[in-house]
């Protein structure tokens, strides 16, 4: 029989547990099952279990460094993913977000709020609209917004999607991604006790010294958190890449590869097991990256007790 306590626990935790199982755990289990099958357009479980899909990504080779050799397209997808995640994360999601947070908290309160609101706009607009605006900006003809400016100084229009595709997706993703870091960093800066700034100034610290010795140490935990969180988000992010670049080879990251092989219309979709295998590898990479960063950032000790004394 249920005791009152157990019943309460069930009532309070039950829905959350069910949601977790249905929306977090079940998809991963299904993904694993599909990845080891040969499910394709006909949506049927034929052979199971089989490593057929993983053989498409790499093959065993005793001569090779790790005992296996990656297929060209997969190796390429890995390299593109690493470049995309690294550049977006460090240039925009962390560094630029930090700059935004520092500058908008340095200026008068109201002005700072206005700037932050502007930086939040892209996140609030539907992704399709945001992508469409980008398509207009980087349009390769003289009609493109960027080219209208560029052509004042140059003769040939720029074709960024063709010549610098990685730059396009990094900037497009970065300008959206920076706002999350900005908000978190801003609130962290706000929670630094005011007297520390006064004390620093009394000791003769300039603005840069204040940032370096007062603000940044207090931001250690939010920076670590944003780095890990955004790294994971970027690993699996593909919507802006797909909307802006389409299934272009030049930006075929792992997440894009998985999408185009399964659900993307008209470009060879329907290979559900193959896409699931790629997604499974992405999950494993995500776990490894998260654990590694957790360790590097020493998150465990950061989580133990608040580093900032709140009055």
């Amino acid at each position: 029989m249920f005791t009152r306590q157990r019943l309460d626990a069930l009532l309070f935790l039950g829905p959350a547990v069910v949601l977790m199982l249905a929306f977090f755990l079940a998809p991963i289990v299904v993904n694993i099952l599909v990845a080891f099958s040969d499910m394709n357009q006909t949506v049927r479980f034929g052979e199971f279990p089989t490593t057929e899909q993983f053989n498409k990504l790499g093959k065993l080779d005793a001569e090779a460094f790790l005992g296996f050799e990656l297929r060209g397209s997969f190796y390429r997808a890995l390299a593109l993913t690493a470049t995309f995640v690294f550049l977006t994360l460090f240039i925009f999601n962390v560094t630029f977000a930090l700059i935004l947070a520092l500058t908008t908290t340095a200026v008068p309160e109201r002005m700072g709020a206005v700037f932050r609101a502007i930086w939040l706009l892209p996140r609030m607009s539907p992704s399709v609209v945001y992508a469409l605006l980008w398509l207009w900006v980087v349009d390769s003809t003289e009609r493109g917004l960027l080219n209208q400016v560029w052509m004042l100084f140059a003769i040939e229009p720029l074709n960024l999607r063709l010549d610098h595709p990685m730059a396009v997706i990094v900037v497009a993703n970065g300008l959206i991604g920076a706002s999350l870091g900005m908000i978190i960093f801003t609130s962290a800066i706000r929670s630094i006790p005011e007297h520390l700034f006064h004390a620093a100034r009394a000791d003769g610290a300039g603005p840069l010294s204040i940032v370096r010795h007062v603000v940044l140490p207090a931001l250690r935990w939010p920076i670590s958190y944003i780095t890990i969180y955004q790294a994971l988000a970027l690993l699996v992010s593909f919507e802006y890449i797909f909307l802006i670049m389409g299934p272009a080879r030049s930006t075929m990251t792992m997440a894009m590869l998985s999408y185009t092989k399964t659900l993307a219309p008209g470009i060879g979709g329907g290979q559900y097991a193959y896409g699931a295998a790629i997604a499974l590898i992405l999950i494993v990479i995500g776990i490894v990256v998260a654990l590694l960063m957790w360790r590097l950032a020493n998150m465990k000790s950061l989580l133990q007790r608040p580093k900032i004394e709140v009055n």
Partner: protein, 449 residues
């Protein structure tokens, strides 16, 4: 009639049938059709056939009524639609009639979705007796017919004559182009040179454009370079390394001489259409159903004005003396393996008769499925473009009905993209494409040197 109207009518019909007394026996036929401006009557003709049948039931004093439940999908193309259809089938939602691109029949049969129509066709021989026999090839899988061709078409190169004139070409040259292509004198390379010449002369902003995504069009260019995509004896897909190298080499040649935009594969459909219909591009690689939009865009009327404005050529031969190619890509009715399949097949047979099919063909610029349609006054009057295109069918290829043709096209397209954007040399692209084909298609593809 538009599809919207149709679906409204169907909705109305179904709500009426709910209100009707329970005595009447309704047989519901689920009809799956993609909302497509280039063929609203593909579904409409089935609805009309059902109406006809219901009048027969009524006259016979029967309470049975056929209700068409139109499942109108909004997939972005027949490939995406076919995948959705297979998903619906996998959860037991198998429609009774589907409108599909013929090359998916292989997948449909393998999935147990498509009904074998051999008995139906034999049992209703008179309804199909006038069908153009070549079209039956497009619905065969492992020797049996699993679909009824609904329309046909020709894909080719369209050339803008005014650009040729502005570029200094004589009328004789323009008028002689189709014959020069058929004779194998005007090659793929000549075509690119001509396009580049027009760009250099300032007559065109863009030399020529092809579709910006994966699709059947590329198959005819591949055929021009001698790639036989299907081995019928073994029922396997096929690729020739040397032919593929030449084909990619030709694309590189076109990009290098300035006739083909390097970022063609990242164009949108809109900008692709606009480039040709807006008079910026000399040529476009696409299908005959564009005639309607072209008439409108160029502001011309009737056969004479049209052919004064545009020239049609096959995909030229790769080298002098070779054979040009083009592609026909029939859309077909497939009958689902359901309990209503016999009734569904009969409705398809009714919708495939001369009058309804001509309404569709003439309205949307598709070539006919029955020989007799060409003789109909409506065809003679409004179908001039289709009658003009029908002789081109002599050079037509079909896509193979192989379950993995979609994947095959997607992979060979990645090579097109890699070469055009300058990422890879043709040789590197061939190596990459062959490796991908081997990995993804395995035993389903034969690789020839």
């Amino acid at each position: 009639m538009t599809l919207k109207l149709l679906s409204a009518a169907t909705l109305l019909a179904s709500s009426v049938s709910f209100a009707a007394p329970a005595l009447a026996e309704d047989v519901t036929i689920d009809l799956w059709s993609r909302a497509d401006k280039s063929g609203p009557l593909r579904a409409g003709n089935i609805v009309e056939a059902a109406d006809q049948l219901n009048r027969m039931f009524e006259a016979a004093g029967s309470d049975t009524r056929v209700v068409i439940n139109l499942i109108e999908t909004n997939a972005n193309g027949f490939d995406a639609d076919a995948l959705d259809l297979l998903k619906a089938h996998s959860v037991g939602e198998t429609p009774d009639i589907m409108v599909a691109a013929h090359e998916w029949i292989g997948s449909f049969v393998e999935a147990g979705l498509a009904a074998n129509l051999e008995d139906h066709i034999a049992g209703n021989a008179s309804m199909y007796a006038d069908m153009i026999p070549a079209l039956w090839e497009s619905v065969k899988y492992k020797g049996d017919r699993y679909g009824i061709p609904q329309d046909s078409e020709i894909r080719m190169f369209f050339l803008n004559n005014d650009i040729l004139r502005a570029g200094g070409k004589e009328e004789d040259f323009i008028a002689g182009l189709p014959a020069a292509v058929e004779a194998g004198e005007f090659t793929m390379y000549d075509f690119c040179d001509l396009a580049a010449e027009m760009v250099d002369a300032g007559a065109a902003k863009v030399g020529w454009v092809h579709r910006p995504n994966v699709g059947p069009d590329f198959q005819m260019a591949m055929a021009s370079f001698g790639i036989d995509i299907y081995n019928e004896d073994e029922a396997k897909l096929q690729i020739t390394k040397s032919g593929l190298t030449e084909y990619y080499g030709w694309l590189k040649y076109c990009v290098d001489n300035g006739s083909l935009p390097a970022d063609m594969t990242s164009y949108s459909w809109d900008s692709t259409h606009a480039a040709f219909r807006g008079g910026d591009a000399l040529a476009k690689f696409h299908g005959i159903w564009n005639v309607g939009a072209q008439l409108e865009a160029f502001g011309v009327e009737g056969e004479e004005e049209y052919f004064n404005k545009l020239t049609w050529i096959h995909s030229p031969a790769a080298e002098k003396g070779g054979e040009p190619k083009n592609l026909s890509h029939p859309i077909v009715y497939v009958v689902g393996e359901t309990e209503n399949k016999d009734l569904a097949a009969l409705l398809v047979a009714m919708a495939s008769q001369h009058v309804p099919n001509t309404n569709h063909a003439v309205g949307t610029n598709h070539t006919p499925i029955n020989y007799g349609q060409v003789a109909m006054p409506e065809f003679q009057e409004k179908g001039w473009a289709l009658i003009a295109g029908t002789p081109m069918l002599d050079y037509a290829e079909f896509m193979p009905n192989h379950a993995k043709i979609g994947q095959y096209n997607a992979i060979t397209y990645t090579g097109v993209q890699a070469v055009e954007t300058g990422e890879m040399s043709p040789e590197e692209a061939v190596e990459m494409v062959i490796e991908e084909l081997e990995i993804e298609l395995g035993d389903d593809v034969i690789i020839l040197d």
